[in-house]
Symmetry: C2
Subunit: 318 residues, 2 copies
């Protein structure tokens, strides 16, 4: 059994490598070949904290995964990171432990970024004028970083509630291949950008149907709990294509759930991203279409990125 | 974060040390201070296998535990052990990973053995004539090994379906402090022994009410799935005291569940071992009483033995 730490995972697992694995994760999920039951959650009080346990495997795969991810939001006061995570990979045919990935949440961040990239690869307009990122946190970074593989556009505009955080985000050296701009408002961002990613922890809509340009693609990744919401439900009515990672999950959590519950759209309007990957007729057919992808976070992607990390690290192939 | 392997766990964690932790586990569970939800189970086909994921913590404790235990029954054909297990211990207040215990199932075996010992400490007759062990597997070994701390009796009688396995069991050097005898039949064993432990994977009763001597204590540890059964339900009717590790679990699985479903006893007759530890009036009041303890396997005990292992190993105190 091997143990890998965050630093070597970051060093040896190239960003582009993971895209094939993540794409396969979406397909596997939509073909119902991924056995990924609901996660278990442990909630703690005094101090408040939570621990999420996910597990799953692919019917025809070599491994099964158990992922443990925690959030303890008073940790920064103690000089500790608020989030922590590890993944355990086991042999599907023997149960033997293959590896422990002490990734501290890096692989989860990366898989979400890669998921956003895959969404854009299949649904964004051919010509992206400017990438708009709403939010300035960790996931904003991973989304933008990974979008380099989905589009040749290198103009990026960032909006954050705190403009100083948006400014600091723009100075990140890992993003220096982009021309970074701070948006004065979401309105400005939406008027300039036709590829927009929302990455906030908002519980009220930030982006509205009236702001969306013709031909815009939106990926919503922030709303991963029932109380979270980033998109005006009318966006889904206005959109030509509504795509989710999981029909089942997105009926319960995230922005699509609000639109469904409000009766703004019917569930038949949703396609799964795995289906869009498999079936070109489900993709955008013109540069004028508005497309929206709502991602809830699939355990199948955790499985896939753990496999990507293990296969790369064990061979030390970059 | 520390990683401990089976060999150092076996070397540094003394058997007697764990008894206090296990006793505390029973008490904590019965006082409803242990948060131990139902386990998750992943089932595999071709080859058949299963993976059990348990998690939990004590309300006032320092840690939370995640345990992963697998069983792949074709593994021995591949030269691999059929069972495997590891435990992860995290800080309750921060979520930081404390240690990974790569115990390969040793700690689970040991906690079950310790649980049987605690049951006997509180319920066995003062004078044990002979210890009877039904079954010759791993758990038979751990039960007998740990009973050295519950009684000064060093006479032991073993019954196995395969007499050659029973003979081999008797030759185990780790059990040399006992005078070991192979029983010709369960009838013979029950007539000689007044402390009996059943450790088989039987799905039909092996030990019957008519065979039980006055004053006998029985601990049933084998039946850990709904289809498993070792004791004639009438034993519970005949018994003066019926004790379980968990009312909730034992109403569903194990020998007591059969007795309850058949209406042979009422649920009011059951006491939890944690209650017996806390309340001396629930223990045996004469050497003639028949007592039965049915153990389903508490995640609270997994938590406690992981803590025992970590606290001992991290201080290297034996």
């Amino acid at each position: 059994m091997k143990i890998y730490h965050k630093a070597e995972i970051q060093k040896l697992l190239s960003l582009q490598t993971v895209l094939d694995y993540i794409e396969e994760g979406f397909v596997m999920y939509s073909k119902k070949e991924a056995m990924v039951p609901h996660e278990a959650i442990l909630m703690f009080e005094k101090p408040a904290g939570e621990c999420h346990i996910k597990w799953g495997y692919a019917k025809r795969g070599k491994y099964y995964l158990i992922k443990v991810a925690s959030g303890f939001f008073e940790n920064p006061e103690k000089g500790l990171p608020s989030r922590n995570s590890l993944m355990l990979l086991f042999e599907r045919e023997t149960g033997m432990t293959v590896c422990v990935l002490l990734d501290e949440g890096y692989l989860t961040d990366l898989r979400s970024g890669a998921a956003g990239c895959v969404a854009a690869m299949y649904l964004a307009p051919r010509k992206v004028d400017c990438i708009g990122i709403i939010g300035t946190g960790n996931q904003a970074y991973f989304q933008l970083r990974m979008l380099q593989f989905a589009t040749s556009c290198r103009e990026a505009m960032i909006w954050g509630r705190d403009p100083s955080k948006a400014q600091k985000f723009c100075e990140n050296r890992d993003l220096k291949s982009f021309h970074m701009h701070v948006a004065e408002s979401i309105d400005q961002l939406a008027s300039k950008c036709n590829l927009i990613v929302t990455t906030t922890s908002s519980s009220v809509p930030l982006l509205f149907a009236s702001q969306i340009r013709k031909g815009t693609h939106i990926t919503a990744v922030g709303a991963d709990l029932p109380i979270k919401q980033e998109l005006d439900p009318e966006i889904f009515a206005k959109a030509d294509r509504v795509v989710v990672d999981s029909r089942v999950e997105c009926a319960e959590i995230g922005d699509v759930a609000y639109a469904l519950k409000a009766g703004v759209i019917k569930s038949e309007k949703m396609q799964e991203l795995g289906e869009v990957i498999l079936n070109p007729s489900l993709r955008r057919t013109s540069d004028d279409e508005i497309t929206v992808v709502d991602l809830s976070g699939l355990a199948a992607l955790d499985l896939q990125i753990a496999i990507a990390a293990y296969e790369r690290l064990s061979n030390e192939v970059v």
